[in-house]
Amino acid sequence: MPAFTPPPLPSEDKRWKIVNGTMRKNGFARHALIEALHTVQSSFGYLDDDSIRFVALSLRVPLSQAYGVATFYHYFTLKPPGKHTCTICAGTACYIKGADKLIAAAEKRLGIKQGQTTPDGEISLMTARCVGACSRAPVVLYDGQVRGEMTGEQMLRQLEGWASQ
C-alpha cells in the first residue's frame, strides 16, 4: 500500500500552514483531532465544513466523526464571531449574583439572543460556563479581558462604546 499523503492545503491562506503544523507535530495521528480543531478556531475564529473536512481527511478521521466532535464541545463554534465579543459568565457564583439580569440586559440592548452576533457583524453575545473568577462575580469578558463585579450599567457602557466606534 502506498504511503498516505495528506490532502493539499485548501488555499494559499497562511493560516492553513499553522493548522498543518499542529497536525504534523502530532504525527497526523487521529487523536490530534481536537488539538487541530483548536488551532483552526484560534487561527480562523471558527470552524466550517471546509476546515473540518481538511482536518478530518488529513488525520484520516471519518467525516461524521470529526463533525460529531466539533459539535460535541461547546468551545467550538461553527459561526464566525463578531468583531467584538461580550461573554457573560453564567457560572453558579455569577448566577447567584445576578448574571441572568446581565444577560437579559445585553440581549435587550443588542437585540439578539445569547450565542448570536448582531446583524452588522459587530458584536457577539456569548455566555461561559464559569471562567474561574467566581470570587469577583458577576464576571464579564470583553474580547477575552476578564472584568469582575460588573453592573448592568458598566456593561451597557462598554457595549455602547463598541457600537459608537
Partner: protein
C-alpha cells in the same frame, strides 16, 4: 483451584442456578438460559455501549444497578433481572423515550415491527405521564433507497456502530450532545449525497422506524439484523 475450574463460573440468575464461561456477560448467560432481559441498544454482532439502561440488573451485595450487556459474570454472583424496582425504572426510561421525540405508531412504517413499541407492550406501559417534548425534527429522504426520520430516532447508535464496525464506512455518527443529539451522515450532509455505500445495514439494525426502506412505505417493514453474527463468524475464520 485448577485451570479448568476457574474457566467455568456458576451463578444464580433469578433464583435459577446457571453455569457460564469466564468472560461471558450476564446478558449472554441469561439468554442461554431463556431468561429474558429487555435490551434496546444491544444487538448481537455489534459492540456494546451500555447506553439504553434497559438491561440494568440488580446484583446482591452491590447497591448500584449494572448493565447486563457489559457486566461480566463472576463466581457466586446472585443476579436479579426483574425486580419491582427494575420494572419501575424500565417503564420510566421507556416513557422518557416516548416523550422525547415524536413517536406516533399509527402512522409509522415500523408499526408492528418496532422494538420500542414491543418493549412498551412487554413492560406494561399503558400511558406516558411525562409532557411530550414535540421537538421539530426533520426527515431526510435524499437517499435513493432509504429515508431517515429523526422524529423516530432513539439514538441507540446501532446505525453508527454497524456502519463503522461491520461495513467499515463510518458514514453515520452523532452530532451535538445531550437532548440535542442527532445522528448525521458525513458533515451533517444529505444522506443521498454522502459517502454512503448503499449497503442498507443501518436500516436493518434500526430498532424503530427512524431508518426505513422507501420501497416498504405502505407495506409491512420487518427488519432483519440476524446477518450480523453470521458475518462476524465468517470474518473470524479468515
Amino acid at each position: 483451584m485448577s485451570q479448568v475450574e476457574s474457566d467455568v463460573k456458576t451463578l444464580v440468575i433469578d433464583e435459577q442456578e446457571v453455569s457460564a464461561q469466564a468472560g461471558q456477560t450476564i446478558l449472554e448467560v441469561a439468554l442461554e438460559n431463556e431468561i429474558k432481559i429487555p435490551t434496546l441498544c444491544h444487538l448481537e454482532g455489534l459492540s456494546d455501549v451500555g447506553a439504553c439502561r434497559l438491561c440494568l440488573v440488580e446484583i446482591k451485595g452491590n447497591s448500584k444497578l449494572l448493565p447486563a450487556c457489559v457486566t461480566v459474570v463472576q463466581e457466586g454472583m446472585e443476579v436479579s433481572t426483574n425486580s419491582e424496582r427494575l420494572q419501575k425504572h424500565r417503564r420510566t426510561i421507556l416513557e422518557l423515550l416516548f416523550a422525547e421525540r415524536n413517536h406516533i405508531c399509527s402512522v409509522c412504517v415500523s408499526n408492528g415491527h418496532c422494538e420500542l413499541q414491543t418493549l412498551g407492550q412487554e413492560q406494561g406501559l399503558t400511558h406516558v405521564r411525562l409532557p411530550y417534548r414535540n421537538p421539530e425534527l426533520g426527515v431526510d429522504a435524499s437517499h435513493e433507497r432509504f429515508t431517515v426520520d429523526h422524529n423516530r430516532c432513539i439514538l441507540c447508535t446501532r446505525c453508527v456502530r454497524v456502519c463503522a464496525e461491520i461495513e467499515g464506512a463510518h458514514v453515520w455518527d452523532v452530532m451535538g450532545r445531550g437532548i440535542n443529539s442527532v445522528v448525521i451522515t458525513d458533515l451533517h450532509e444529505e444522506w443521498g449525497k454522502s459517502t454512503c455505500t448503499r449497503c442498507g445495514k443501518c436500516v436493518q439494525v434500526c430498532p424503530t422506524g427512524a431508518l426505513f426502506d422507501k420501497s416498504k412505505i405502505g407495506s409491512d417493514h420487518p427488519k432483519y439484523p440476524d446477518f450480523l453474527p453470521y458475518l462476524n463468524l465468517m470474518r473470524e475464520a479468515q
